[in-house]
């Protein structure tokens, strides 16, 4: 059982080290003044060298945001956020605009190392030619605070016609595509945080897969929040044309802080006929300390539109970090026989609060969706699954199956399940199952009897509990995710 052994090793290696990824990189920052108003938005737009339609779009979102109340329905509590007390723009000071990786700030390269970007990728970042026999490499669009610093593999990708670049670059270089699709899945006034993001987003990734192309490599973005008091507003847009396929990986770490930090990203996916998008996330932002001080507020809007017939969007997430998570990756199943999937593991410990789930909106005939959610609560945390399955009258023969399981570790935590099921078509079949339990004594006994410590036994059992979801992750992430689970639950047993 090598994976389990590795998990155990990791736990031991990390014992007493606290939050492993809690470091801070000092790079000169270009910081906009605190506060949010039209001038700040104009400044962001200007710094990004955006065309005027983009600025108008931002201002429209800002106007909508001003009129919106902050949502209060999630099962989370936090002190009120002062939106005027944040920096909405922070960019590492430009030397000359890196033309190649050699010009990249060495501090950043050192940061990749700390971020744990796999050796292989770092070698590639350093300009080492990939070995022909190895499996296809991963393209990385590293996001350092608000500006994508360098994008690798451009060339390989562009050969096949794939566009993978920072969204600010896409706004300049591919304005027609951006104009056509941005805000088409998540409208500017969709919700409070999406409107805020639309007004002030500073960076994120743009992916365009042309017709019939299978993206030659996994695309990956490493997010990282740096600089004190900057909220991060990422905007990601992925378009998969007819018959194309792409797998996108998103991983996150953040420096250790005392102050709460706001993160409100928007991710939009568009899949045409027969296209498929797989979007995987490992989220490991700073969850706050043992007393619940600090940590990231993660208020994210992720939504995919299956516009074409037989299109498919699959969300997989492993959420272990953040003080508060408010996240519902959703699928609009518009195309006939389109497919939506949501696989989630959410772990909360200490004082973490997670309110996460999905929405599957069935519009297309024969559309199907699968939801598998595994929630693990430990410490004094609260973990809520909140999901919606809506079948519209047009969704003849639609199918949904939902499985939500919660595991409670300790008697001071909470696990909640709030599914909404709305069906308006008799030929649709919707099934929902949910269970809540703790780790069975006999399972624990079995492992202990074979010489595993209680903590190792719990890790083993938790990994088994999450297996259904973890197996959906790309290989690169599966190992990391398994380690993360173990590290997250460390100290919450016994």
């Amino acid at each position: 059982m090598p994976a389990a052994t590795e998990t155990i090793d990791t736990v031991q290696a990390l014992a007493d080290t606290g939050y492993k990824w809690g470091f801070e990189t000092n790079i000169e920052m270009d910081l906009a003044p605190k506060g949010l108003n039209e001038d700040i938005i104009r400044l962001i737009s200007e710094r990004k060298e955006e065309p005027s339609w983009m600025l108008d779009w931002r201002l429209k979102a800002y106007a909508a945001w001003l009129k919106m109340p902050e949502p209060d329905w999630a099962h989370v509590t936090h002190p009120p956020i002062d939106y005027q007390d944040l920096h909405y723009y922070a960019a590492p000071k430009k030397k000359a605009g890196p033309k190649s990786l050699d010009e990249v700030d060495p501090e950043l390269l050192a940061m990749y190392e700390k971020l744990g970007i796999p050796l292989k990728e770092r070698a590639i970042l350093a300009g080492v030619e990939p070995d022909e026999n190895e499996r296809p490499p991963i393209a990385v669009d590293a996001v350092f605070d608000s500006v994508s610093v360098a994008t690798t593999f451009r060339e390989t990708l562009s050969k096949s016609g794939v566009i993978f670049c920072p969204i600010s670059e896409a706004v300049r270089d591919h304005p027609d595509l951006v104009k056509q699709y941005i805000g088409s899945v998540v409208p500017v006034a969709d919700n409070f945080f999406a409107a805020l993001n639309s007004a002030v987003f500073t960076d994120g990734s743009f992916v365009y897969i042309p017709k019939g192309v299978r993206c030659p490599m996994e695309l990956s973005t490493y997010f990282r929040i740096n600089a004190r008091n900057t909220g991060q507003f990422e905007r990601t847009l992925i378009i998969a044309e007819a018959g194309s396929h792409v797998s996108y990986l998103e991983g996150c770490t953040a420096p250790q802080r005392d102050e709460n930090q706001l993160h409100a990203a928007v991710v939009e996916l568009v899949a045409m006929d027969d296209a498929s998008i797989k979007y995987s996330t490992v989220q490991n932002w700073y969850p706050g300390d043992a007393e619940g001080r600090g940590g990231i507020y993660n208020f994210v809007t992720k939504r995919g539109a299956c516009r074409g017939a037989r299109s498919k969007i699959s969300w997989t997430q492993v959420e272990t970090g953040s003080a508060i998570t408010w996240k519902y990756p959703s699928c609009l199943l518009l195309g006939e026989d389109s497919v939506g999937e949501f696989y989630s593991v959410a772990v909360t410990t200490m004082h973490q609060q997670a309110d996460t789930g999905t929405k599957m909106i069935h519009v297309g005939k024969g559309s199907t969706s699968t939801i598998v959610s595994k929630g693990i609560s430990a410490g004094k945390s609260n973990n809520t699954y909140r999901g919606l399955v809506r079948i519209l009258p047009s969704a003849k023969g639609a199918r949904n199956h939902t499985q939500c399981d919660s595991l409670l570790i300790g008697d001071q935590c909470g696990a909640h399940t709030v599914p909404y099921i709305e069906s308006r078509n008799p030929s649709a079949k919707v099934e929902h199952e949910a269970t809540t339990s703790k780790i069975a004594e006999d399972q624990l006994f079995y492992c202990r009897q074979r010489g595993l410590s209680e903590e190792d036994a719990v890790n083993l059992i938790v990994n088994g509990f999450c297996k259904e979801v973890l197996k959906e992750l790309p290989m690169e992430f599966a190992v990391e995710a398994q380690k993360l689970l173990a590290v997250s639950l460390e100290g919450s047993v016994g």
């Binding site: 009258p393 919660s406 069906s423 078509n425 008799p426 649709a428 099934e431 929902h432 269970t435």
Partner: protein, 433 residues
């Protein structure tokens, strides 16, 4: 009072202001309820956002209906004839008022009119329909079963003759070890609002079986709120059959406040036309070793809409709780809708809680099987729907009451298929024209 009252929440408040000095009971409780109702209004009655508890049910139709009271002393013999026959005590309320002449009450019976006490379970500050009831309640049944006593079956019947609004306040009190079965029947004619609030106190080791048969008139609004408290090792065994009414809701708040308390909150909703029925429940496990069981089945025809909102709460320390919740819906028509929200809120780790929900149409294969054996379509469908309901009705263990429920389901089905046939005939005519 033949003039139409002003509409919506304002109309109820105006009525309260006018009748305040005539109402019995603690005026401070009534005033507080009126204040709460002034704040909440009728959920959905105005354009204000509805609270989450009313996500799928808007009371706008009530706010827009001019409820008129009719002359007194209407003949209730036709309605009386519909009261299920049973050799058991009978308590009859006509238009919300106790009628001794039509009743045969059991021992321990009194009325709210005689003893206007509001009880301590109801929450007018939180639940708008309870606030409305608390503001305007005039009568209701009070039944106390002494410790260790077995009161058998009692029929509690509400007959509505079209009087504008009924706000009965019922209190059931089972002392330790007592047993009681209540067959709670609501029937009526015309347009009216029936807004009962029922408090049930189930003492230690006591056993209350509460079977509700809601068969109001097709134009009626029925908004019932029930508060149940179950002490150690006590059992509340509830079953609700929703058949009638234009817009109806049964809202349960059940607290298992003693160790090893048990609650069953089962039900079936059979809807057609443009009916809207909402089954909402909150079961709170406050102490260890509690058990709750809930299965609610919906059969939805025509353009009807069924709503299920069920929440199981397990408080910190309520270890060894065993909770189960199931909502099933059968959609018989392309225009019917089900909205289901089964919810778990758990703060204890050593528990076994699960819920499930299924939505779909009649199984095509089963239908084919029956049709291939020469059973006509309508009959085959009826058979499958009845089979679907049978399991639910089996939760009603008293054989006599079970038979009454079966007969009610049969009556509904006869009306429903006749209506479906009429609709089809009309559709054909329309095509022909």
């Amino acid at each position: 009072m033949n003039a139409p009252v002003s509409l919506g929440a304002a109309g109820f408040l105006a009525r309260y202001d006018a009748a305040r000095h005539l109402l019995s009971g603690d005026p401070s409780v009534r005033d507080a309820a009126a204040e709460a109702f002034r704040r909440s209004g009728l959920p959905g009655g105005t354009s204000a956002r509805r609270p989450e508890a009313w996500k799928y049910t808007s009371l706008r139709p009530i706010a827009e209906t001019a409820l008129q009271s009719l002359a007194d002393d209407r003949d209730v013999s036709a309605l009386l004839a519909r009261v299920p026959a049973l050799d058991s005590p009978l308590v009859v309320f006509v238009d919300g008022r106790f009628r001794a002449d039509l009743s045969n009450p059991p021992a321990g019976f009194s009325t709210f009119a005689k003893q206007p006490e509001f009880g301590d379970l109801a929450r007018p500050d939180r639940d708008p329909m309870t606030a409305l009831n608390t503001m305007l309640a005039e009568d209701g049944a009070r039944l106390r079963i002494a410790a260790g006593g077995d009161a058998g079956v009692v029929r509690l019947v509400s007959l509505a003759t079209g009087a504008e609004t009924l706000h009965p306040r019922h209190v059931l009190h089972l002392e330790p070890g007592a047993r009681l079965t209540v067959l709670d029947v609501s029937i009526g004619d015309g347009t009216y609002l029936h807004n009962p609030v029922t408090e049930a106190h189930v003492g230690a080791d006591a056993h209350l079986i509460h079977v509700r048969l809601q068969d109001e008139s097709a134009d009626a609004f029925h908004l019932a709120t029930l508060y149940v408290d179950v002490a150690a090792a006590g059992t509340y065994d509830g079953f609700t059959l929703n058949l009638g009414g234009r817009l109806t809701r049964a809202e349960f708040h059940v607290g298992l406040t003693g160790a090893a308390a048990v609650a069953h909150l089962n039900g079936a909703q059979l809807l057609t036309g443009t009916q809207h029925a909402d089954f909402t429940s909150v079961v709170r496990h406050a102490e260890p070793h509690g058990t709750s069981r809930q299965t609610v089945r919906n059969v939805l025809a025509g353009r009807s809409r069924g709503v299920f909102q069920g929440r199981i709460e397990v408080a910190r320390g309520a270890q060894k709780t065993d909770g189960y919740q199931m909502n099933q819906a059968l959609l018989l028509s392309p225009d019917a809708e089900i909205d289901s929200k089964p919810e778990l809120e758990i703060f204890a780790d050593d528990v076994k809680c699960s819920h499930g929900a299924t939505v779909g149409e009649l199984d095509a294969e089963q239908l084919f099987y029956l049709r291939s054996r020469g059973i006509p379509d309508q009959e085959a469908r009826a058979l499958l729907v009845r089979a679907f309901l049978q399991e639910g009705l089996d939760d009603v263990t008293d054989a006599r009451i079970h038979a009454i429920m079966e007969a009610s389901v049969q009556g509904w089905w006869d009306r429903q298929s006749a209506q479906a046939i009429t609709e089809r005939a009309n559709a054909t005519k329309a095509v022909g024209a």
